[in-house]
Structure formats: structure tokens, C-alpha cells
Symmetry: none
Subunit: 438 residues, 2 copies
């Protein structure tokens, strides 16, 4: 891992406390702590410590008291549910010597959720609308457990539910605005994520270099690899977003100069399928997919994007040769001669699906996802990907890994990145795979 | 979250320390802590605390000293790499007042790795073979950073690299055997996971009850909800795996008696699609899917299972009405009259796909995944699911959430669980949804 000068000395200090035996035992992976770390870092905090503690009132009390003393801001997740193990609220109410009183808007909200689902309200659900008087409610539109915001002697404490999307909603729409209000003088960190696809981390870092000449004085760069591509993270601090962003200018332009063709967009959670969607909408083009080895993964990625019905015509999951022939007009003789995992079949599938769905672009996948199905000539990980772009047909061949799920993910990345490059007129293919023509 | 008597009082106590700025910032999700938590829990420890701390020698020193005093066993990951940020080894060598000396077998191993990759060895790579005299080496076959095992006054400390598969290798093949040697009298914990679908956590726990009469004396039960179902975890300790397993007998049979119909199988990582696959293979039946709102998610779940090509004929992702009519023989008049999100269209899609793919079972989804597409009568989250099981046709209607991705996941769970119940002749539908007939 390659990290430079992440924290400066005058930053405010934050603690993240994750409550739950299931986290300590390892039944649940603590994704909340990372998400919260991201939010706090971007709003200028040094996240100096993370704690994972059990559902034990005594331990919760001790840790919250300690963090409240040391940290400018403490975020606590978990233990706000309706069961009797959920003790966080009670413990914190005691710390603030504050009574629990019913909060009418929260009660109304809980009732409306239950009414909508057709369930009746239990006593423990009603209990969730009881709020310590000492706090401000962080109204949780996504669920029944409200968040809470406390302060003492200039130190702040937020309690958030452990359900990831509820926590995230509250961080984004309740905690972040509060932070801006109570820490107005805070240096902000501006972080930008550049997402790449179809280039290995080592090649990318060779191309970009360490950029050491630009990395100093509260400016940093990091490479974050994962199966769907490498993310480059750059960050800088300053009094204002503009001042911090200004420091990134040269880094940003160097990045674009050195690796621009590989960067499909900016934003930590940006998906390649979203970028493709934007391009397709701009160019008023439609797409359809024919999947064998990816079995729906590519279509699922495309349809995960809200509004994708505007350009996604649909797809065929053609696991059997019979369906490839019948629905996608693949030539039975070609299957017999070259096999279903072949250039010819890949191209015919892409061409066939574009015609069957009356789409401008057809893409296809056929391969040996594994663990079974390999032959001496066709190993696990071999994938042919077919493209039919307004009648321009070709295929790419790759050999990925021994892992079925990673093979699906990699295939989807290569297929989508190839489409991106074609639509934008960018030279070259992902991983510099050689194009094969009919 | 509902956890009972997870830990008994005479258990040894473990701390997990995760080192790395990237964890605090949230660029990396801390999967290591969960994995280690699993290992330690199964080998009889109470994991009482997790700490995430920065790459800072002073803070590392303080935390390691503290844990070494409190915890019987401390596992530290991270900070053992070749860069100058990796300071863990030096700090711990200082704590043990121990000199670093070159370890010949480790040096040989590092050299051979570099030779194989065709790289030359840098000074910082050589540095990795320098080991504190006070420790035993945990030989890392998977990488260049060796693990280390220390002890002081009956307290033990392991340093492991942060790379997940290297950490896992060392836990499994080096740390676990050491634990058995130095804590021979330690009880083992046996854990079993029962997976359910189509029943809310609250209903499930009402049905099962707290099982308080059986939960005591080192036996525990926990409910772990997530969007694809609720997992019930039971665990017990004993001198031997057999003794511990014996204590689970009555819990296991009570669970099966009270909630057996909802339990689709055992195993933490078991997937519903895998269970369906096994049943389909046994009954020699095939399946095909027609997806609108789930856009490939259901097919992807089914095809994630190795060997699924034996029963999965394939599917159609029919985002447009045109395709529903053309490929799935849905009646255009019915679409006009009732809309694409309707009972009639769902049933016709399921029936149509079973015929088009010549499959025994056809399933379909059509709904408003969101965030767009809602009307006053058809809110975001409304989904119709169609079933055609050897000619027996019906549909289920549900209203899920406002979240597009969760709606896809929930829909897939309900559809697959409904198929499981039908195939096994289990009464009732997931979430007790009312069946609608043509």
C-alpha cells in the first residue's frame, strides 16, 4: 500500500465506535467503519482510532465516555434496534443523565412504516420512538431506528443504527450538515477518485509514476486495486474546498495526461455501467447483451443503473447451445466445428442479440467460468467476448482466473470498458487484448 | 441484533489490532478483523475488543503494550510490508528489547520469490528477512512478509501481514496449531449456521423463541439479518468438538421443529440458489427466468453456482414491452389494459419463458425497481413475480423498499424461496404473500 502525507497536524480528531458481538466474532464484516471513515476524512477529520466493542453496557459506557473526552467527534453505530440486546441508547442517555421521552414525529414515522407493510406495532417497536431529551434527533427516513446527536464541552457524539444503508443515509443527510455547522473553521480535505479499467495496477503506476514532485504539503496519492479495476485516489487539504481543490490541480492534470485514456470517470462509487449509460443516452444508442459464461452478470451491472431502461433493450442468457441457435441465430455447424467457446460463436451471439432486440449495440460472452468444463485446449478462465457495434463486428479473447465469480466480474469489466473505448473513439482495447475479426 | 450468552466467563480473552491508515480512512474494508474473529471464536476465545490504529509507531507501541497486558492473545495485522510506512516489526522488537537478526530460511524464501518473478531484490525487501530474536517465525509461504509469534508472562502476541490471503494462510497453518499447543486446556467452540429466507427476523424470533431453557452453560444463539435472509447461528463450547457438538443437539432439533420450514440449509456461505440447484438436479427438472425489474440479478444468482448449466436453461431480460410480446408471447392487449407490472403479465412472462426455453419451470419478475417509474397506483418497490411450474401458474405480489439494489435482491430471494417451497411441497409462500391465479 502506497500512502503519502495523509494527515496534517492541526486536524480535528474523530473516533469511530462499532458496537456488536457479530462484528467481533466475525459474522459480519464491518463495512460501516470504512464508510464513516470516508465521510469523516472528506470533511477534514483525522480518524485517529476505530474501536469494535461488544453489546455490553459497561464496555459501551467506558468507551463512549473515553472517546467523548479525547475525540472532537465520535460516531457510534449499532445497538439501536428493537431487541433487548440493543442497549446503546440507554447507556448514552445515562451518560448524559437524560430521560427518555416519546418523540412524536418519530413515532408517527414508525407507525406509518408498519402500516404500509401491514404489520402491527410491538412494544419494542414503540420503544424506538423514545429519545433522550439531551439529544437532537437525526431523522431516519430509511428505517425505524432514529439517529441521535449529542454534545458536551465542544465534543460531539452521533449514534447511528448499524444497518448499512440507514447509517449511510444519516451520515450523508444529517451528520454531514451538522458537522459543517459545528466545525465551520475546519480545514477540509478534498478527495478525488479516478476510476480506471482494463489496466493492471503495476502498468498504471509505472505510467503515472509516484508524482513525488507534486506530492507534499498535505497532498497525497494512493492506488486501490480491486477485481473491477484500479481506483486512483488523490487528496489535499485547505481552508476551503476551493483552496484544497486548487492543490490538486496539477496532480489532476498530470494524471489525465499520463493515464487519461484509462480513466473512465471520477467518483468513488462511480460504476463503469453508469458511464456507458451516459454515453449511450448522449449518442441516442441502445444496447442488448447475450450472455453465456457471465450468466446475467453483465445485464445486472447495466440494469443496476437507475434509468437504464432508456437504453437497455434487454438480453438473453443463453446457457444451452439450443438457445444460442434458436434465439440468437448462431450457426449450428459453427458450434459443432469451433465449439460454443469460440470467436465465431461470440461474434454471432453479439450480432444475433443486437438484431433480436433491435439494438444498436450487441455484446456477448462465452467462456469457461469454472471450476468445471475445461478441456486441454480451453482452460478455466478462457473467455471470448463478442461485439457488434452498429454492424461493426469483432471479438476479444482473454484468459482470466480459476475463480468463477472473479471471472464473471473481469469479463463484465472488459466488455464494458471495450464498449466505452469504442464509443469514445479511444485507441486500444482493455489489457491490450488483440481484436479478432469474423 | 439478538445475541445470547455468547461468551462464558472462563474463556480466554483475545484482542485484534488492525494497523493501517487506509482502514481508518475507509479506503479498505477491514475483512481481516472478521476472519480473525471467526478463527479465534472457533478456537474458544472471547474476542473482547477490536482496535484500528494508524501507521504510527507511538500509537502502535501503546496499543500493543496495553493488549499484551490485558489479553491472553493479541493478533496484530498490517505494517509488515517493505515500505517505510511499515513500522510494526520495529516497534514490537523494541517492546521486547530484542535485536533484529537475519533469518536465513526467510531470506532464502524471499530470494526465491523474486527470482521466480524475475525481479531483483531491493534493500527494503532484504529488510523483511530481519527478525527480532525474541520471536518464533511464522513462515509465510504466500508472500515475503513473515509472521511472528511472541510471548511474555503467559500472554501471546502474533504479528501477521495485512494482505488477506497471507494473513489467512498464517492463521490457518501457523497460528491455530500454536494456539492448540499453548492453550491446550482451552475449550473449543462449535458453530452452526442455519439459513432462512422469506420470514422477517421478528417473526422468526417469535416462532423460535429465545430458547432460553436451552441457552446456558456455554451455548448461544444469534439472529443475523441481511437483505437475502436471516441466518441463525448456534454455538457451544466443550473440551472436544464432539462434546461441544453434543450440546447443540437439542438446540438443533428445537430449531428444526419450530422453524424447519423456513430453513433452507446449513452453512455460513450457503446460497439459496445452490439449494435450488441441488433439488432441481435430484428431480431432474430445468429452469428458465424472464426478468424485467431484476434485470439479470436472478439469473446471475443461479449461474453463480458451479455446475448450474445442468439445470439452468437460460433467461430473457425483457426490459421493453416489445420484447415481452415478441420473445415471451405476452399479450399486447393485456399490457395495455393492466400495465407491464401486473399479475397477468407476470404469469404470461413465466409461462412464456418456460415454453421458449423448453424448461420445466419458468419464473418471472416485473416491478418498479426505482427510483423512477412510479405511478400513484404503482409505487416504487412494487413487484409482481410469476411462476409456471410444470404448467401450474400463479403470481405473488410484494411491496419492497425504495432502494433499487435491495429490491432486486429481495425479489430474487422471494422468487427462489417460493420455488424451493413448491418443489419440496412446503405449505405457504415467503412472507405469507397471497398467491394470485390467472
Amino acid at each position: 500500500m502506497f500512502y503519502k502525507l495523509l494527515f496534517s497536524y492541526d486536524m480535528k480528531n474523530a473516533h469511530v465506535i462499532s458496537i456488536g458481538n457479530e462484528l467481533l466474532i466475525g459474522d459480519t464484516i464491518n463495512t460501516n467503519a470504512s464508510k464513516i471513515g470516508n465521510y469523516l476524512t472528506e470533511s477534514g477529520f483525522e480518524v485517529s482510532r476505530g474501536f469494535t466493542i461488544p453489546d455490553n453496557p459497561h464496555i459501551i459506557r467506558k468507551q463512549v465516555l473515553r472517546s467523548l473526552k479525547i475525540a472532537d467527534l465520535t460516531i457510534v453505530t449499532g445497538g439501536l434496534g428493537p431487541t433487548h440486546d440493543d442497549v446503546t441508547k440507554k447507556v448514552v442517555a445515562e451518560i448524559f443523565e437524560s430521560e427518555l421521552v416519546e418523540h412524536a414525529p418519530v413515532m408517527e414515522h414508525i407507525e406509518s412504516i408498519f402500516k404500509k407493510r401491514g404489520f402491527s406495532l410491538s412494544a419494542s417497536n414503540r420503544e424506538q420512538a423514545m429519545i433522550p431529551q439531551a439529544c437532537e434527533v437525526l431523522f431516519n427516513k430509511m428505517g425505524t431506528a432514529p439517529g441521535m446527536w449529542f454534545h458536551r464541552n465542544g465534543n460531539y457524539l452521533a449514534l447511528l443504527p448499524g444497518v448499512p444503508y440507514e447509517m449511510e443515509y444519516l451520515m450523508e443527510f444529517e451528520v454531514m450538515p451538522k458537522i459543517k455547522t459545528v466545525f465551520p473553521e475546519q480545514d477540509v480535505w478534498v478527495t478525488e477518485y479516478f476510476k480506471t479499467a482494463g489496466i493492471p495496477e503495476s502498468t498504471l503506476s509505472d505510467r503515472v509514476g509516484s508524482l513525488e514532485e507534486f506530492v507534499a504539503n498535505g497532498v497525497g496519492i494512493a492506488y486501490l486495486p480491486n477485481p473491477s479495476g484500479v481506483t486512483i485516489r488523490i487528496s489535499a487539504n485547505g481552508n476551503t474546498p476551493e483552496a484544497a481543490g486548487g492543490k490538486l490541480k496539477i496532480l489532476r492534470s498530470q494524471l489525465n495526461e499520463r493515464a487519461g485514456d484509462y480513466i473512465y470517470g471520477k467518483g468513488k462509487n462511480l460504476k463503469l455501467a453508469e458511464v456507458i449509460g451516459t454515453i449511450l443516452k448522449e449518442k441516442n444508442l441502445s444496447i442488448a447483451v447475450a450472455e453465456s459464461c457471465t450468466g446475467g452478470f453483465v445485464a445486472n451491472e447495466i440494469t443496476n443503473i437507475p434509468g437504464s431502461s432508456a437504453y437497455m433493450k434487454g438480453g438473453i442468457i443463453a446457457y444451452s447451445n439450443e438457445i444460442k441457435i434458436k434465439t440468437l441465430s448462431v450457426d449450428a455447424d459453427d458450434i459443432n466445428r469451433e465449439g460454443a467457446v469460440s470467436k465465431t460463436v461470440a461474434i454471432q451471439m453479439a450480432d444475433g442479440v443486437s438484431k433480436a432486440f433491435n439494438a444498436d449495440i450487441g455484446i456477448s460472452t462465452t467462456g469457461i467460468a469454472g471450476p468445471g468444463g475445461a478441456t486441454p485446449e480451453k482452460p478455466v478462465g478462457l473467455v471470448w467476448m463478442g461485439f457488434s457495434i452498429q454492424g461493426y463486428n469483432f471479438a476479444l479473447k482473454a484468459i482470466f482466473t480459476n475463480n468463477r465469480l472473479i471471472n464473471k466480474e473481469r469479463t463484465a469489466m472488459v466488455v464494458l470498458e471495450c464498449i466505452r473505448r469504442q464509443l469514445l473513439g479511444i485507441q486500444g482495447t482493455p489489457y491490450e487484448l488483440k481484436p479478432h475479426y469474423p
